[in-house]
Structure formats: structure tokens, C-alpha cells
Amino acid sequence: MTNLVELRQITKSFGHARALDGLDLKISAGEVHGLLGPNGAGKSTTIRVLLGMLRADSGTARVLGHDPWTAAPEVRGRLAYVPGDVSLWPNLTGGEVIDLLARMHGGEDRARRDALIERFELDPTKRSRTYSKGNRQKVGLVSALSVTAELLILDEPTAGLDPLMEEVFKQCVHEARDEGSTVLLSSHILSEVEQLCDRVSIVRAGKVVDTGTLAELRGHATTVVTATLTRLPTGLDTLAGIEEIAVDGHRVELTTTRFDEVMSRLASFGIEALTVAPPTLEDLFLHYYDQTGTAKSRAGATA
């Protein structure tokens, strides 16, 4: 598979603040790629580098085979973008903005536009200044989705949308992928990423700290094992592969990534009851963002 987006060791500073600090990102053709991270991690800066609005201080960037900073504007005709906070020209109506942006993109598809306006239940005759945040977001989504694009870049696109509209958005992303588009979805909404993305890159402090399919990422995070044993356990805390452990009489709760050793040792004490909870995306997130780097116990959540 070819990489539609390839960032290598990108750095970008604003004054003394380092927004990107050696960021690597690869997005293959046809995938929905999630960019996951909290506010200020560098997601939007990454996207602005991809769009050619910011010039990387160092590193190489390739988008659709071109350097986004020097590429001819035509390259941007092959992608579509929705910012996280869509600002519009206050005197123009939503319909006018959608048409204008489609014409700038290089082609209008009236039928597709009207269908999207209907699906998102947008009133295109209202002046932009009277739109709520969610409605402005809809204008941005309709503008981006109504044109044909090989690469769809979405920066926290559902901020302000109600749950029904979020569903419509998810359908649209699936349809875009089925039509062969590649999607980059930046988000801090874990369920959205979980439902939509084939692969995920986790961004922290201007770096991608891990990337892969959700299954692969889960493999890196610890699983919580809770067991009630027939005999009182001994020597468990010296066992390699256990990250956190709490022993309360016959009851043991531990977190681990190495099941073979842990399970055979637990079995030697006789297992009466056992629950194994795989890490959720929240755990992954906490795993990467916890200052100490260890997963938090979720005993309360799984009980």
C-alpha cells in the first residue's frame, strides 16, 4: 500500500513553545486513520503542516506525493478539510459559503450538496452569524463532503454536533471510505475513534508515541486480571510481568501484559473465580498519558 501522507521527524516551534517535536506519521491509501490526543498535543499543528499553512522547522512532509509547503495549490484540490472550529463569513448564508468553497475546490456537485444539506438538516438560507456552533460545523462538513477528494482531513469535526448528527457524520465517513477516500480523523473522543478508525496514532507533546491498529495498541497496554484463589497466594509480587498487584486474602487483583507466567502461577494456588478485562481505548489513552506510564486500575469499572 502506498502512503498518502508521510511525515518524518517533523519539528515546529512557535517562539519558545515546541508544538511538534520529531513527529512521524504514515497514512496508507484507503484507511481511516485516527489521530488521538488531548488538547495541545499537536494534532492541529500537524494538520496545518499537512495543509501547507505552516512550514515545518525540520523534517520531511509528503502529502499525496508532494511537499505540502511548496506544492502547487492544485494538490489541495485532491483533499478536503474540516477544521474543529469552523468560522464563516458572517454576512454570507450557509448555502453561499458551501457553494463558494465548492467552486474554489474546482467543481460543484449540486445533487450531492443538496443531499448532504438534507441529511445534516441544515438551513442554508440563514446568515452565518446566526448559526450555532453545531450548525457552523455542519456547513464545514457539507462543504468538505460534497466535493470529491482522495484525502479527507477532519480536525475534531464533531465538536458541537448533537448525537443524531454524529451518527450521520459516521455514516458519511464510512461512505467516503467505501468510495475509496483516505481519511485522517483527529479527535479526543475515544468512542468516535474506536468506531471509525482502522489505525490510530497517539500523539503526546508533539510526538507520535504509538501507532497501529486498535488490536495492536491494546497489546501494548496492560490487562486487569481479578482472581479468587482457593489457597492463600505467596510470592506473587516477585513474579516478572506484573505491573500492579493488590492481594486481599484469597482475592488478587493485578495488571499484566504477560499471561503465561501469571496464569500458571495463579493456577498453582487453585482458581475459584476469574475475570480478565481487556484494555479499553480509555485505558490506552491513560496508559500513554499517565505521567508514570502505568495503567490505572479499573477494578471499580469492571465489577
Binding site: R55, G77, A80, T93, E96, D99, M104, R127
Partner: protein
């Protein structure tokens, strides 16, 4: 809950927000007035000088229109004569901007909603803002009074000068309070209030040029009619105060009754589809600037009609030192035309600077993530600025020409283009603004207006005879065709166009290296 509940905490908040911005406007305006008064007194140091000045001014319709009559030839009288019109503009602007910044602007941006949950009455923010602008206006008045005492004017007259300055600030604040209640956007509220201030200013000029009781045409005429150092008619401030209170009361009454975010004028729906002409960055820039340009052009047409009308009915000659050295010739029409590119440049610079607003609001992202070259995006605003300046200048010249059709139909053709031909002077400043936007965008607004102000200051130094009149040859305003009576300056005009083109060309190269954020 009373609609004025919470005015006191709002007063604290408004004072805190305005402690730098607002106080700088008012205090510096007051100081500027004193400096101008001191400047003119230094230029005409003896009583004989001032009497000669008064005689020539009071006989000239042009001077009467632009500045007003000299009613007393003592130090205070001449200082007041030169600065009162400037006071009307600066102190009024300070009040208009401060009021809109603290009433309609936060309402439009949504910050007012934060206060909606607090125990704050609907009219409290407005009442607090009026309190703060009143204090600011009073400060400007005190600065002016103390300054006049300092330059040797009589005590009673100096106090009245301060009262006049304060009256401008109070009246404009009440006016902006009302426009801010009627329309829904801060831009429109400021625009309408400034337009009314401009109308007051021009009507005052017309009233003084006509003479007699015509000063009643404008509230600014009422303020001027106090005539400190001569008649000392303090009671003329009463109608001004009455009008101010009436405007403010209506504003507070509306504020107490309307919904948050609403205006008196309802929001209309618009077209669901864009006009076929709206298709790229230039058409977008033209479309978003359209309202302001039409407003300015209509204003310029009216001013042109007025100046043309006044100068043809009162067939007097103007004797302003302004620009005469550079061959602009004499006459109200000539001086007004000489000054017109300055105002066109202000509109042009403002229009071009919208590009910065596009970036800070995030709208630039929507355009630049499409296949739009940065250079065409940048030039879209430069071209719109240049066209805006041209439109205003054309409207102004046309107004003068139409007004003089009755008395001087033969010169209609020349007058109709005399404004438009001066556009290259404004274009130089627009091109400079474009270059600033492409290189140091954050400082562009400040530097563009400082440079424009520096050339305006050059005019003042010539007027105060600090530098020889030939210095004006360095000013773009003096290098454009000085029609109908002055030099046509063909080569100089071509040179200005080339300078503007060169600045724009450098700007298009520089924008390629700028981060957009």
C-alpha cells in the same frame, strides 16, 4: 430584578477592561488638542498675527467649512479655533469605539452570555459603559482645560473649552449606545455611529459657511456656539446635554426590553445558493467588503455634493496653507480634493487589513485548504482595497461635479474624474499595507496607520511652518494630479503607480514564506 441591577460590578469590570485602551484614547486625545493649540499659537505669536489670521479665516468659506470661525483673537481663542474640530473627531471616536467595544461587541461574540447567569440586569452593562465613557470624556475635558490654562488662556474660557470637549464625548457615547441597541453587529453599530458623527461634523461646517443661525443644523454647531473666550455662552451646552440624555435614555429603554443578541431590526434570511459571480478569493473579498465600500462611497458623494454646493453658493477663496506650496492651488474644492486620498487611503488600508481578520478568525483556513494560491488570496484583498479607494474618490469627485453643474457645467468632466485620478496616492499606502501583511502580519495594522499618520503630520508641520512647503513633494498626496486647478503631474502619478506595483510584487513573493496562523 431591576434591569439596572448589577451596574456597580459591571462598572468595575468595564473600568478594568478599559484601564489601558480607553484611558489612552481619552487622555491622548486631550493632550493632542493641547499640542495642536500650542502649535497654532506658536505659529501666530503676536496679537497682530492672530488678528490677521482671524480676518482671513472669517472671510473664507473654505476655512469656515473645514475648521470654523475665529471668534476671539486672544491665545485661547485661536488655539480653540484650530483644535475644536479635531476634538469633535477624536473624542467622539474614543466614545463610539469604547461604547461599542463594551456593549454590542461582547454580545455578538457571546461573552455577554457568561454574565447572563449572574445577577446582572439587562441594561446594566450599557449603564456601566455609559458611566465609564462619561468619566473618560470628563478626563479628556480636564486635560484640555488644564492644557489651555498652561498655554496662557483665561481661566473661565479654559473651563468652557473642557466642557465642550467633554460634551463631544458624552454625545457620541449616547449615540453609539443607541446604535448598539438597534443593530446586531458591532461593525454596523460603529459604522452608523461614526457616519452620524461625520454628518454632524459636515453640517457644522455647512452651518458655519452659511453663517447666521445656520449653526443650529448640527449639535456640533451648538457645542461650537459656546464660543469660549468670546461670548462664553455656557447655556448652549444645555440642548447638547438634553439630546445626550434623550439618546442614552432611549438606548437604556431598548436594552431593558430586548432579547440578548437581538436588535430592533430583525435578521433576514438570504439566498440558499451563491450567485454565480461568487467563486474565488477576489469575489469573496469584494463581497464581504461591499457594504463598507458602498457606505463610504455614498458618504463621499454626499460630502462632495455639500462641498460643491457650499463652494459655489459662497464664492469665496480659501487661504489654507495646506498643500498650497505643492501647487494644489486655492479654493475649498481644491483643498477638499487634496485631502480626499487621505480618507480613501484609510478605507483602502482597512479593507486590505481584513486579510488579517481572516487569519485570526480562522476563515483563512477554509480558503487556503482549497486549491487557492496564497498570492491570489493576498492580492484579492489588495485589489479590493485599491478598488474601494477608487470608488470613494470617484464618488467624491462626482458629487462635487454634480453640485457645480448649475454654476459651472463646463468643468463637470474634469471634476468628475478629479477624485478618481488621485487614487494612486491611496494605492501606495494600500500596497505598503499588503507588504506588511505578507511580512509582519501582527504589526501590519499599527505600522500602516503610523506611516499614514506620519504623512498627515507632515502636512501639519508645513502648516505650522516648521518645514518649508517643498517638503510636501515627498508626500504621495501632493504628487497625484492636482486637477482642476493645479498641476496634472503625469510622470509623478506613473511613478506612484510603479511604486505601488513594486511593493505589491515584493508582497506576493514574501507571502510564500509566511506561516498562516
Amino acid at each position: 430584578m431591576n434591569t439596572l441591577t448589577g451596574t456597580r460590578p459591571m462598572l468595575g469590570l468595564t473600568l478594568r477592561r478599559e484601564r489601558l485602551h480607553g484611558s489612552a484614547w481619552y487622555v491622548l486625545s486631550g493632550l493632542l488638542l493641547v499640542v495642536i493649540a500650542a502649535g497654532i499659537i506658536a505659529t501666530y505669536p503676536t496679537a497682530a498675527d492672530r488678528e490677521a489670521l482671524a480676518e482671513s479665516v472669517n472671510a473664507s468659506a473654505g476655512e469656515l467649512f473645514m475648521i470654523g470661525p475665529v471668534s476671539s483673537t486672544d491665545v485661547g481663542g485661536v488655539g480653540l479655533w484650530r483644535m475644536l474640530g479635531i476634538a469633535a473627531i477624536f473624542v467622539s471616536l474614543a466614545s463610539v469605539l469604547t461604547v461599542v467595544r463594551n456593549t454590542r461587541a461582547p454580545e455578538e461574540s457571546g461573552t455577554s452570555e457568561l454574565l447572563g447567569s449572574a445577577a446582572i440586569g439587562r441594561a446594566a452593562p450599557l449603564a456601566a459603559t455609559l458611566g465609564v465613557t462619561a468619566a473618560g470624556s470628563l478626563t479628556a475635558g480636564i486635560v484640555a482645560s488644564v492644557g489651555f490654562l498652561g498655554i496662557g488662556a483665561s481661566a473661565g474660557g479654559s473651563v468652557l473649552v473642557g466642557a465642550q470637549v467633554t460634551s463631544f464625548g458624552l454625545l457620541a457615547a449616547a449615540l453609539a449606545a443607541l446604535t448598539g441597541q438597534i443593530v446586531q453587529t458591532a461593525r454596523a453599530a460603529t459604522g452608523i455611529a461614526v457616519a452620524v458623527v461625520a454628518a454632524f461634523f459636515l453640517l457644522r461646517g455647512a452651518g458655519d459657511a452659511i453663517g447666521g443661525n445656520a449653526y443650529w443644523m448640527s449639535p456640533f454647531g451648538w457645542i461650537a456656539a459656546v464660543r469660549p473666550f468670546a461670548h462664553n455662552n455656557a447655556w448652549m451646552l444645555l440642548p447638547v446635554l438634553g439630546l445626550t440624555i434623550a439618546l442614552a435614555a432611549v438606548a437604556v429603554w431598548i436594552a431593558s426590553r430586548r432579547d440578548l443578541g437581538a436588535g430592533l431590526l430583525p435578521e433576514r434570511v438570504g439566498p440558499a445558493h451563491a450567485n454565480a459571480a461568487l467563486r474565488g478569493p477576489t469575489s469573496l473579498a469584494l463581497r464581504t467588503s461591499r457594504g463598507a465600500v458602498i457606505g463610504w462611497a455614498a458618504g463621499a458623494l454626499v460630502v462632495g455634493l455639500m462641498i460643491g454646493g457650499v463652494s459655489s453658493t459662497v464664492d469665496e477663496q480659501i487661504d489654507l496653507a495646506l498643500g498650497t506650496g505643492a501647487g494644489s492651488g486655492a479654493g475649498l474644492v481644491q483643498v477638499a480634493l487634496y485631502l480626499s486620498p487621505l480618507f480613501a487611503a484609510i478605507l483602502g488600508i482597512q479593507t486590505t487589513l481584513r486579510l488579517r481578520g481572516e487569519v485570526t478568525s480562522g476563515r483563512a483556513e477554509a480558503v487556503l485548504s482549497r486549491p487557492v494560491a496564497r498570492t491570489s488570496w493576498l492580492l484579492a484583498y489588495a485589489i479590493t482595497g485599491a478598488l474601494a479607494a477608487l470608488a470613494v474618490l470617484f464618488a467624491f469627485g462626482l458629487g462635487i461635479g454634480v453640485a457645480q453643474l448649475g454654476t459651472d457645467p463646463g468643468s463637470f468632466g474634469v471634476l468628475a474624474v478629479a477624485g478618481a485620478l488621485r487614487a494612486p496616492a491611496a494605492w501606495v499606502f494600500i500596497a505598503l499595507t499588503t507588504l506588511l501583511l505578507a511580512t509582519i502580519p501582527r504589526a501590519a495594522t499599527a505600522i500602516a496607520f503610523i506611516v499614514l499618520g506620519a504623512f498627515q503630520a507632515l502636512e501639519f508641520t508645513v502648516e505650522f511652518r516648521l518645514v518649508p512647503p517643498e517638503a510636501l513633494y515627498a508626500s504621495p498626496f501632493a504628487l497625484v494630479p492636482q486637477l482642476p486647478d493645479g498641476e496634472p503631474h503625469p510622470w509623478q502619478t506613473i511613478l506612484l503607480i510603479l511604486i505601488a506595483a513594486a511593493l505589491a510584487a515584493v508582497a506576493t513573493r514574501s507571502i510564500r514564506h509566511q506561516d498562516i496562523h
